[in-house]
């Protein structure tokens, strides 16, 4: 047994309203640069839909992930080492820019510089690749909320697996949102595809990263990743991918997508797993066994033997403690409501999803039934084949049994809690029907519905010894006194030369204060503040201007 720790995420799809705040903040944080205009480390797809890049889930076409050989071993679906090297001069399975979308901007300048005339000037779309006029025909989220209807949604590779029934029952259309980031897999096929060995899995927390200094732009990782979450920066010629916001995680903050999630649907925490068991679990014969196989590699941090083995493997005690409090462990192992995305790719993804019950409830309500009644819900979960099979196509390699179990547990929780909410008696039979107790129902409800910041995000900071190093600039430089040479962090070639202080150190204390303070950000500054909303524009309320330096009165 080789215990390793993995930072993992679970998203509760019932809560996703498709607002794309996560995508936008992620874009602002990581990919608002030239060369990655088309790149969304975090994107929110409408399901059914083609996804981003288009039809990425069709592995017959894109050849991502692993495939089990007849000998029972795993090799990248796009080919082993030799084949990779021979196709290195032109990767045969690389998505083109058009499969993502051609990035564009608008000619805003024209609005200001156009000569006076009869027509209102317009800002034409310009391609960011060529600078020429372009037609906007697709984007990262063109089919948002089923835009384009059946014409586009029919191209959904997952939908096509259940297509014959769907065609007849499309009127009962259903929609949910699927936010996606890099899966930070236990068995990452992008890393396996990288000829340079530039993509690595971090031993401490399992985050999969691209070493920008070692990447040589062979672009095999883009093919290797079945989720198409490794991107090619077309300006620098390097691969880039979701970093799990490691600078934030290292100091105990949630990823930016989690931090800004409006629906609070993301959970972050540690999972301990047995690294020696990963290969065997990833190569089980039947695709449908992969979900169970992946659960079997997770180690119970409450087990003293596991804790001891983790300690021996060098995992610090505060990390083991964090693994015990991990919401991920509870959602995946204790309540069994979270499922992996496409386990059949055999990469052992570590961003899991709680499948949405809402489509089922919606259909029930629309057909005049009580959408919150346990027995109606149980019956509907069984009767509504399409959502079930579709969800199974996403989360369990087509096996509807685990999906049924999850939806039933969610349905049971829903109606169990409704009785409490309406002041009715607790109905333990509802809990028992899904193999849980009333107490577990309450705990699960708390975790899914009201969990606060520190319950949703249980992130042990990078280790204590390292924490000092992380704050190197703040705590170590003895020249940082007023007027000293260390002041302003001037480098050898003038101000701001040399390497910069890590930004997370600068913002760490500020952010923590803001998030945990009860009062104002800067207590004691009340006399200096003025509410401009109440100001009528006349006179100078006290505090409108900062006090004069010479100390004379404002009046």
């Amino acid at each position: 047994m080789r215990v390793m720790a993995q930072m993992a995420m679970v998203m509760n799809l019932d809560k996703c309203i498709g607002c794309h705040t996560c995508s936008v903040t992620c874009k602002q944080a990581w990919t608002n640069r030239s060369g990655v205009e088309y790149v969304w480390f975090n994107n929110v797809e409408s399901r059914p839909g083609q996804g981003y890049p288009r039809t990425y889930q069709d592995q017959e076409k894109w050849q991502g992930g692993w495939v089990r050989t007849r000998a029972g071993r795993l090799k990248p679906r796009a080919g082993g080492r030799v084949k990779k090297l021979f196709s290195i001069f032109a990767n045969p399975k690389l998505p083109a820019m058009q499969d993502y979308y051609e990035p564009w901007t608008y000619d805003y300048e024209h609005l200001l510089t156009a000569p006076a005339g009869d027509d209102t000037p317009v800002a034409r779309p310009k391609s960011l690749l060529t600078g020429q006029d372009t037609k906007v025909t697709w984007s990262a989220n063109w089919d948002d909320s089923l835009a384009g209807g059946n014409e586009i949604a029919a191209g959904d590779p997952v939908l096509q697996q259940v297509s014959d029934r769907v065609k007849q029952e499309y009127e009962k259309s259903f929609l949910f949102f699927l936010p996606r980031i890099c899966e930070h897999c236990l068995n990452p096929s992008c890393a396996a595809s990288c000829p340079s060995g530039a993509i690595y899995k971090r031993a401490e927390d399992g985050i999969v990263l691209v070493d920008q200094d070692r990447c040589r732009g062979w672009r095999m990782c883009v093919t290797g990743c079945p989720y198409k979450k490794v991107y090619f920066n077309h300006r620098t010629g390097k691969a880039e991918k979701c970093t799990f916001c490691f600078p934030r995680i290292e100091i105990g903050q949630p990823t930016i997508c989690s931090e800004t999630c409006v629906g609070r649907l993301r959970y972050l925490g540690l999972m301990l797993y047995d690294a020696d068991a990963v290969q065997k679990a990833a190569s089980v014969k039947d695709d449908k066994d992969l979900y169970a196989a992946q659960r079997s590699v997770f180690l119970d941090p409450h087990d003293p033997q596991v804790a001891a083995a983790a300690s021996r493997a060098g995992i610090p005690d505060d990390w083991i403690e964090a693994a015990r409090r991990s919401p991920i462990w509870d959602l995946i192992m204790k309540y069994e409501v979270a499922l992996p995305l496409h386990p059949e790719y055999r990469t052992m993804p570590m961003v899991w999803y709680i499948p949405p019950l809402s489509p089922v409830v919606d259909v029930l309500r629309d057909t005049g039934h009580d959408g919150e009644d346990a027995h109606n819900l149980f019956g509907a979960v069984d009767a509504l084949r399409i959502p079930m099979e579709y969800l199974a196509g996403l989360f369990t390699a087509g096996d509807t049994e685990p999906v049924r179990g999850v939806l039933n547990r969610l349905a049971a929780m829903r109606s169990y809690q409704r009785r409490i909410n309406l002041g009715e008696e607790r109905d333990e039979t509802i809990a028992a029907a899904v193999g849980l107790t009333g107490q577990q129902m309450d705990d699960m409800y708390r975790l899914l519905a009201i969990a606060k910041y520190d319950e949703r995000y249980v992130i042990p900071a990078a280790h204590a010894e390292d924490a000092h190093k992380l704050e190197q600039m703040g705590t170590e430089c003895s020249l940082d006194f007023e007027g000293g040479p260390g002041m302003y962090q001037t480098g050898p070639f003038g101000e701001a030369s040399g390497t910069a202080a890590p930004v997370q150190v600068e913002t760490f204390h500020m952010l923590r204060d803001r998030q945990t303070a009860d009062g104002f950000t800067d207590p004691g500054d009340e006399p200096r503040r003025v509410n401009l909303l109440n100001w009528d524009g006349k006179g100078k309320p006290a505090g409108l201007f900062p006090p004069r330096k010479d100390g004379s009165a404002d009046e």
Binding site: Q132, D205, F232, K238, A462, P502, V505
Partner: protein
């Protein structure tokens, strides 16, 4: 003049190549990439790029065989000059033409595909000129010697001279009587070597042969890079408590 062309110049070019590569590796690891344009355009690249690259690899093998392996060695294993010459001219011409055609396709693609042309730097253009010159001169020398004349045995002159550079006993006289076509090819080739480290061609030196023996999944520890900052030489930080975290693979 002979000494300048066949001693000073090659050594300078090699020095720039080696020094340039070291410099580039130390100061511009980030820029060390193929800068592939496949994302912009794939259909033409699929033909041009393998044609060029496999062609140029064959050319490389041919040059190693022709320049580094002495004539006496091949004759010792029973390969006559005639046999060698026939193979070399035939395989060499095929490989050279593959390279040339591949390169023509790639240059045409680069010029005619909007996004690819937009991503082409001045450095790229200069590199293409030099690279094309080397290939064309090489092919021209071969063709002219074999079509117009009845072949030229460069293994008596160019090859010993080339090897003499590496023994550090350069013999410029060997090159004096060589046909101008071959001389031009050699001179332009050394210009390319000198230019090499400063172009995108550096990616040839990171050919990923290690991939064949590496385990598929790479684990790396964060410990060597505390935070985001590389440690500075000579500054390992203040004393710290002994590490409790064992290094794991």
């Amino acid at each position: 003049m002979n000494v300048l062309l066949w001693v000073v110049y090659p050594y300078l070019a090699i020095a720039v190549l080696v020094g340039g590569l070291i410099w580039r590796y130390r100061y511009d690891k980030f820029g060390w990439t193929t800068r592939s344009s496949q994302l912009y355009e794939s259909a033409v690249l699929r033909w041009g790029s393998p044609l060029f690259h496999f062609g140029v690899l064959m050319v490389l093998v041919g040059h190693i065989g022709g320049l580094l392996i002495p004539k006496s060695w091949t004759e010792a294993v029973g390969v006559t000059e005639h046999m060698y010459h026939l193979t070399a001219v035939f395989v060499g011409t095929v490989a050279g033409l593959c390279t040339l055609i591949g390169m023509a396709i790639l240059i045409a693609r680069r010029r005619l595909t909007g996004p690819v042309f937009a991503a082409t730097t001045k450095n790229d253009k200069a590199m293409y000129v030099v690279l094309a010159a080397v290939i064309v001169c090489g092919l021209w020398a071969t063709l002219k010697a074999n079509v117009a004349g009845d072949g030229y045995d460069y293994r008596e002159t160019v090859s010993p001279w080339f090897r003499s550079l590496f023994y550090l006993q350069p013999d410029p006289d060997l090159m004096a009587g060589v046909p101008t076509t071959f001389q031009t090819h050699v001179i332009v080739a050394f210009a390319l070597f000198a230019f090499w480290p400063f172009t995108r061609l550096v990616h040839a030196f990171s050919a990923p042969v290690g991939y064949l023996t590496r385990p598929y999944v790479v684990y790396r520890s964060r410990d060597t890079r505390p935070g985001l900052r590389p440690s500075r030489p000579g500054w390992e930080g203040p004393p710290t408590a002994p590490k409790t975290r064992a290094t794991r693979r």
